[in-house]
Amino acid sequence: MPAYPERLQALLDVFAGVTDTHERTQLLIDFARRFKEVPPDVATRPFDETHLVKHCESEAYAWAVPNPDGTLKLHFAVENPSGVSAKALAAILDKALSGLPAADIATVDPEIVEKLFRQNISMGKGMGLMSMVLMVQALAKRHL
C-alpha cells in the first residue's frame, strides 16, 4: 500500500466512502466543473508537445511549475470539451498535490485512477487517465 501525500489520501478516503455509482459520478463531475485551465503566463496555445499526455484521447497537457518555496504547482489543459473525466482528474491532482514538494508528488502512482473512478472507467480511457498521473510523476521527478 503506497503512502500517499496526506491531502491525496484524504480525497481517496472520501471516494472510498462513496459506493453509489450516481453519487460518485456527481462527485467527479463537481471536480470537472472546478477545473481551471493553465494560465497564459505558464503556457499558451499551441501548447508545447512535450507537455502532451500520451494516450489521453482528451488531448490533455500537464505542467509542474516551481513555487518560490520550492514546492510545485500543477497546471493542466484539456482540449477536448467533452473530456469530463480528464478535467475531473486534473482538478483532483491539482487540489491534492499542488503545493507539495516534488519528492512527494513523485510518489503518486496510476493506481489512484481506479480508486477515484472505479466503474466510471473504460479500458481506453483508463489508460489515458493513468498516463496523466504518469506525466505528473515524470514532471515532478524532473524537479528532484
Partner: protein, 287 residues
C-alpha cells in the same frame, strides 16, 4: 451538410437528423439512447429524455470477454423502458463511435427499429440545442428477446482465421501508427494490450474517422464514402468484408457506414480485434 435523404445512402433511414430527434424527445414510441466513451458525460447533460447505456457495464458480460446474453439484454431493455416495438435512436460523443457500437450490439439481438442521430453530441451542441441533467425514468417493460445471433454481424476468432487464409477482405480502422505497428515501440506509450504490433495480412488501412465530417460529426456522403472505401482502397462491397480495430468499437462505426450507408451486405465486425489477434500464438501478422 446536405440533408440525409440527399446524400445517396443505400439505407438513409438508418440515420436521423438532430431536427428529427428534437421533434421526438417526448415521443413514447421513441427511446433516445446516449452512449459515450466518457461515462461521466451523460450526467453533465444529455438530450432531454435520453437514457444512458454504457458499453462497459451495460453491454458487456462482466465475467467473460463477450457481450450480454438474452437475459442481460432483456433486463437492459426493461431498465430503459424499451419494447420490441420501440424505435431506438443512438447518439454520443466521439462522432458517434460508441453510439454505433451500442447500435451494433442491439443488432445482435435483432432490434432493427434502430437509428443513429447524425452528428451525435457534437452537432447537437453546435446547433445550440439544450442539454438536460434530469435523469428520466420510464416504466419497466417486459421485453422478450431472441437469443443473441452473432452470425450476421459478428465474426469470431476461428472464422477470422479461415477468412484470412482464404484471402478475405479486411479493413483495419485503427490509426496508421497502430496499423503499422510502430505504436508498440513508442516509449512510455501504453500499448494495445497485445504482444505484437501490426495488422492482419492484407488488411486495408482506413481509419474510422475518415467516414466523418470533422466539423459537425456527420457522416460523409455516399459518393465520398465510395471514393474512400472502394476507389482508394479497393474494397468490394459484393464480397465479405471484416472490419476490426482494437476491441471492435471503432470498427462498429465503419461497419455501420459500410452496411447501411453504402449498402454492403456482408460486413462483419471482428470484436476480438487486435487485442485478440495480436496475442494469438502463431497467427500471421504484417507490418
Amino acid at each position: 451538410m446536405t440533408a440525409i435523404a440527399d446524400r445517396g445512402y443505400r439505407h438513409p433511414d438508418r440515420l436521423v437528423s438532430t431536427d428529427w430527434v428534437a421533434a421526438h424527445t417526448g415521443d413514447p414510441n421513441v427511446r433516445i439512447i446516449e452512449s459515450n466513451e466518457d461515462t461521466l458525460l451523460y450526467a453533465t447533460g444529455h438530450v432531454p429524455g435520453a437514457v444512458h447505456v454504457d458499453w462497459t457495464s451495460d453491454l458487456n458480460d462482466q465475467l467473460r470477454r463477450d457481450y450480454i446474453e438474452r437475459e442481460g439484454f432483456q433486463a437492459l431493455m426493461a431498465r430503459i423502458g424499451v419494447t420490441p416495438d420501440t424505435t431506438v435512436v443512438f447518439y454520443g460523443d466521439k462522432n458517434n463511435w460508441w453510439a454505433c457500437y451500442a447500435f451494433w450490439v442491439f443488432q445482435l439481438f435483432g432490434h432493427t427499429k434502430a437509428h443513429v442521430m447524425d452528428g451525435g453530441r457534437l452537432k447537437w451542441q453546435k446547433e445550440g440545442r439544450g442539454w438536460s441533467t434530469d435523469t428520466p425514468a420510464y416504466p419497466p417493460t417486459a421485453y422478450t428477446a431472441p437469443a443473441r445471433d452473432d452470425a450476421r454481424h459478428r465474426i469470431l476468432r476461428d472464422e477470422v482465421l479461415q477468412f484470412q487464409k482464404s484471402g478475405g477482405q479486411f479493413v483495419d480502422v485503427r490509426s496508421p501508427e497502430e496499423y503499422a505497428g510502430t505504436r508498440m515501440h513508442m516509449p512510455e506509450y501504453p500499448n494495445e494490450g497485445a504482444i505484437r504490433g501490426g495488422h492482419i495480412p492484407g488488411a486495408k488501412s482506413v481509419p474510422w474517422a475518415r467516414a466523418i465530417n470533422p466539423d459537425d460529426g456527420t457522416f460523409r456522403s455516399a459518393a465520398e464514402l465510395t471514393a474512400l472505401y472502394v476507389d482508394q482502397n479497393g474494397l468490394d462491397g459484393a464480397s465479405d468484408i471484416v472490419a476490426y480495430c482494437r476491441i471492435g468499437e471503432r470498427s462498429s462505426h465503419t461497419w455501420f457506414a459500410l452496411t447501411y450507408l453504402l449498402g454492403f451486405e456482408k460486413v462483419r465486425n471482428y470484436d476480438g480485434s487486435w487485442t485478440e489477434w495480436g496475442n494469438l500464438v502463431g497467427v500471421p501478422i504484417e507490418k
